[in-house]
């Protein structure tokens, strides 16, 4: 009996002694961390996707707590709602970044692009791109081996044999992992567009082929041939033709859809139906829309 009591007493005394030592050690070697960092991190989604440009959510939280002006940084996944909460925690002004989405600028499908050769190597776009241009005549387009699908941590991308790369609007958080994984730079992170009746309206050029018109057309039926019709009809100077391909600047585009009827190869794609053909007068119908909210800062991320 006695030995049991002695054991308990010794262990208890040892425990107390070590606790005191540990307390002083922890005081001495304490690393101060802004408690706000933990608070901010708790608000962040915690996917560690790296879409913000920092190493994981903790990295972003640290950067947010440190920075005096946080308007330029933010979490693309959480969006405005999360950033507003963080802004109140930190007592700083949050930037009002426009919600964005990944857009695949290629409508690659077997029906529009004829295969000229066949690749049966490792199923990876990066490897295929290191070997050769493409299975089709277009050296710029989607290769279709799904590096973007593998890169997406939110299960938002799939490859449809008919439509090419399909981005799920609900799931995509615009972290940019797919755009980084794509060796052909087909995927671009663009503004989601203004929501009308619960649907975001946006228009983009579904082609990145920099070949001259006839060459591009020979390779793919739905290639942009840089005819310039869309640029001519655009009232907002949002469309530029560069390197034989049209590009719509999403900071200028108002998603009126006038260009959609002009494209001879249907290389333009929109999330809404094209306006009826003789273009309606601006006031008559929805197409020409009021400018996007004035407080929206134009994103500085050009092509």
């Amino acid at each position: 009996m006695n030995s049991v009591l002695i054991t308990i007493a010794v262990l208890a005394a040892l425990g107390c002694l070590l606790a005191v030592i540990l307390y002083f050690v922890s005081q001495k070697f304490k690393v101060y961390e802004d408690p706000k960092i933990a608070e901010v991190e708790a608000e962040l989604p915690g996917a560690n996707c790296g879409g913000c440009g920092f190493p994981g959510c903790h990295g972003l939280a640290e950067a947010l707590a440190k920075a005096d002006d946080i308007s330029a940084i933010g979490c693309p996944v959480g969006g405005a709602a999360v950033m507003a909460k963080i802004a109140t925690i930190l007592g700083k002004e949050a930037g009002s970044a426009e919600p964005k989405i990944a857009v695949a600028r290629c409508s690659a499908s077997c029906s529009t692009r004829i295969k000229v050769t066949e690749y049966d190597g490792a199923q990876s776009c990066a490897i295929a791109a290191s070997h050769f241009s493409s299975e089709t005549g277009c050296a710029f387009a989607c290769l279709g081996h799904g590096d973007c699908v593998k890169a997406c941590k939110f299960d938002a991308i799939s490859i449809d044999p008919e439509k090419g790369v399909v981005v799920d609007e609900e799931k995509c958080v615009a972290c940019g992992a797919c755009a980084k994984a794509c060796p052909k730079n087909v995927i671009e992170i663009r503004a989601k567009g203004r929501a009308v009746q619960g649907k975001n309206r946006r228009v983009w050029v579904n082609c990145v082929n920099k070949d001259k018109g006839p060459v591009a057309m020979k390779a793919c039926k739905s290639a942009c041939i840089a005819c310039g019709k869309c640029a001519k009809v655009c009232k907002f100077n949002a469309i530029v033709i560069e390197n034989n391909v049209a590009y719509i600047d999403y900071t200028k585009c108002k998603a009126c859809g006038l260009c959609l009827n002009e494209c001879p190869t249907h290389a333009l794609q929109a999330t809404f139906p094209a306006p009826p053909k003789p273009a309606p007068k601006p006031a008559a119908e929805a197409p020409v829309v009021p400018p996007v909210q004035s407080d929206v800062k134009p994103a500085d991320k050009a092509e």
Binding site: V116, T117, D120, G121, A122, S124, A126, I127, S130, H131, F132, S133, S134, A139
Partner: protein
């Protein structure tokens, strides 16, 4: 026992279908397309105008730097255009297109078949001549020859190793050259020895070419210092580091060059070109191309002018058969499939291989069964299964730690894998990325050093 390299190696089926077919000169085509980048390094800069009349052997593009090579016209005629063309990988490259008119050679070129034995030039002049004549490694890697011969200060070259191994299955162009032009090759070796100021050279030949070994051994008696070294049959014996190991018993350390162990390696094709350039004043305007493959009607060896379309070579060997699944530029182990055949033969085109549909299909990929066969066969002593995994997972620091940069991309791991895993595909990808990082670091360090 015959010599060979010490670690790894495989035995692919030889299939030397065209070994018995003598070298035939292919007729000059109606038009040639001569690319400006036929070598490793900076592309050459064109020095002729559209519409200019050129002769065979005339300089049409000047080297674009030290690691670069001159390009000469392989035909006589008019420069039609200088424009982009789509190469065998589908990438755009610049080329000079020449319409052929007659066959008028530069007067300075000695076209007789006599062997010129007297080497008049001094070592420095020989290297300058080789550079002027646009010579590059003829084995396929196309590294400019004059760069290899310029031994850096502080290094000493002790022996020249001539690669007559031709370890790639199917290919026979070097074999035929050794049989039909042995004197010229040996003279080339002599010239190279003089350029390097050494008195020792090995010619490594695998023992599946006994006729070439016999012929060269017999003739080499008249060339002091030249040893013909028969080697045991093993792939990839033609790799520089493997060949030095096999012939000289020296291992090139990781990250080092052959010159660090006192060796310079050149291909037999290069030795032949060196002879022609130095003694006959003939630039690199034609090469021996082996057109072969099981579905092909007449596997042959052709002497082809640079710039001739690959399709013309295949046509001369019987045309593309119905059962053709792949056309490969180079050998089956390290060659690359072409996406079309309307591409020119360049300085590095050692072979054109046609495969039937069944052969060219890649077998289905299964899981790694940890058998370590790839580790056993890797001639560089690497762990391909690990490197491919690290590359796929983008763990580049670890990959570098496991010496991914030492991979010579011989494909032995792919060949031996019982699960048909695309090991080399991933390793090559990782190697590219690690190489880019290393180059960026080196450039940053250089910039920082210059600032100071």
């Amino acid at each position: 026992m015959l010599k060979t390299f010490s670690i790894g190696g495989i035995h692919p089926e030889e299939n030397k279908l065209s070994a018995a077919s003598p070298i035939q000169a292919l007729p000059v085509p109606a038009e040639v397309k001569i690319p400006l980048a036929q070598h490793i390094g900076a592309p050459a800069q064109p020095c002729v105008e559209v519409g200019a009349k050129v002769k065979v052997g005339q300089l049409i593009a000047k080297a674009g730097g030290f690691v670069s090579a001159n390009v000469h016209s392989s035909v006589s005629g008019t420069v039609k255009k200088i424009e982009e063309f789509v190469d065998a990988n589908g990438m755009k490259k610049m080329a000079i297109v020449i319409t052929v008119e007659g066959d008028e050679w530069e007067e300075t070129i000695d076209r007789s078949a006599d062997i010129v034995r007297d080497i008049k030039l001094e070592p420095k002049e020989i290297i300058a001549k080789i550079s002027e004549m646009g010579l590059v490694g003829m084995g396929g890697a196309t590294f400019p020859t004059h760069v290899k011969l310029a031994v850096p200060e502080g290094q000493k070259c002790e022996a020249l190793v001539i690669n007559g191994v031709e370890c790639e299955p199917y290919l026979t162009s070097d074999h035929r050259a050794m049989l039909e032009r042995p004197e010229e090759i040996l003279m080339g070796v002599k010239i190279l020895m003089k350029a390097l100021q050494i008195d020792k050279a090995y010619i490594g030949i695998e023992n599946n070419k006994p006729d070439a070994i016999a012929k060269l051994t017999e003739l080499a008696k008249n060339y002091p210092g030249v040893t013909v070294q028969p080697l045991k049959l093993k792939y990839p014996q033609g790799g520089e580091k493997q060949l030095i190991d096999a012939c000289m018993g020296r291992q090139v350390p990781s990250g080092k060059l052959p010159i660090n162990v006192g060796a310079v390696v050149q291909n037999v094709g290069t030795a032949l070109a060196v002879y022609e350039a130095v003694q006959k004043n003939k630039p690199l305007i034609e090469r021996i191309v082996c057109v072969t493959g099981k579905p092909l009607a007449k596997p042959s060896n052709f002497l082809v002018r640079i710039g001739t379309p690959v399709s013309a070579c295949i046509e001369a060997a019987g045309g593309i058969p119905e059962d053709c699944g792949k056309v490969i530029g180079g050998g089956p182990m390290m060659g690359r499939a072409m996406i079309h055949t309307d591409v020119p033969v360049i300085k590095g085109t050692s072979g054109i291989l046609l495969m039937n549909k069944k052969e060219s299909k890649r077998p289905e990929i299964a899981n790694c069964i940890r058998c370590a066969k790839c580790v056993n066969v890797c001639p560089m002593g690497l762990e391909p299964y690990l490197l491919s995994k690290l590359s796929a997972k983008e763990m580049l620091d670890e990959a570098q730690g496991h010496s991914i940069m030492d991979c010579i991309e011989c494909g032995s791991c792919n060949f031996t894998c019982p699960s048909n895993r695309p090991l080399l595909d991933y390793i090559r990808l990782g190697k590219g990325k690690v190489g880019a990082i290393l180059r960026a670091k080196a450039a940053a360090a250089k910039a920082a050093a210059e600032k100071k």
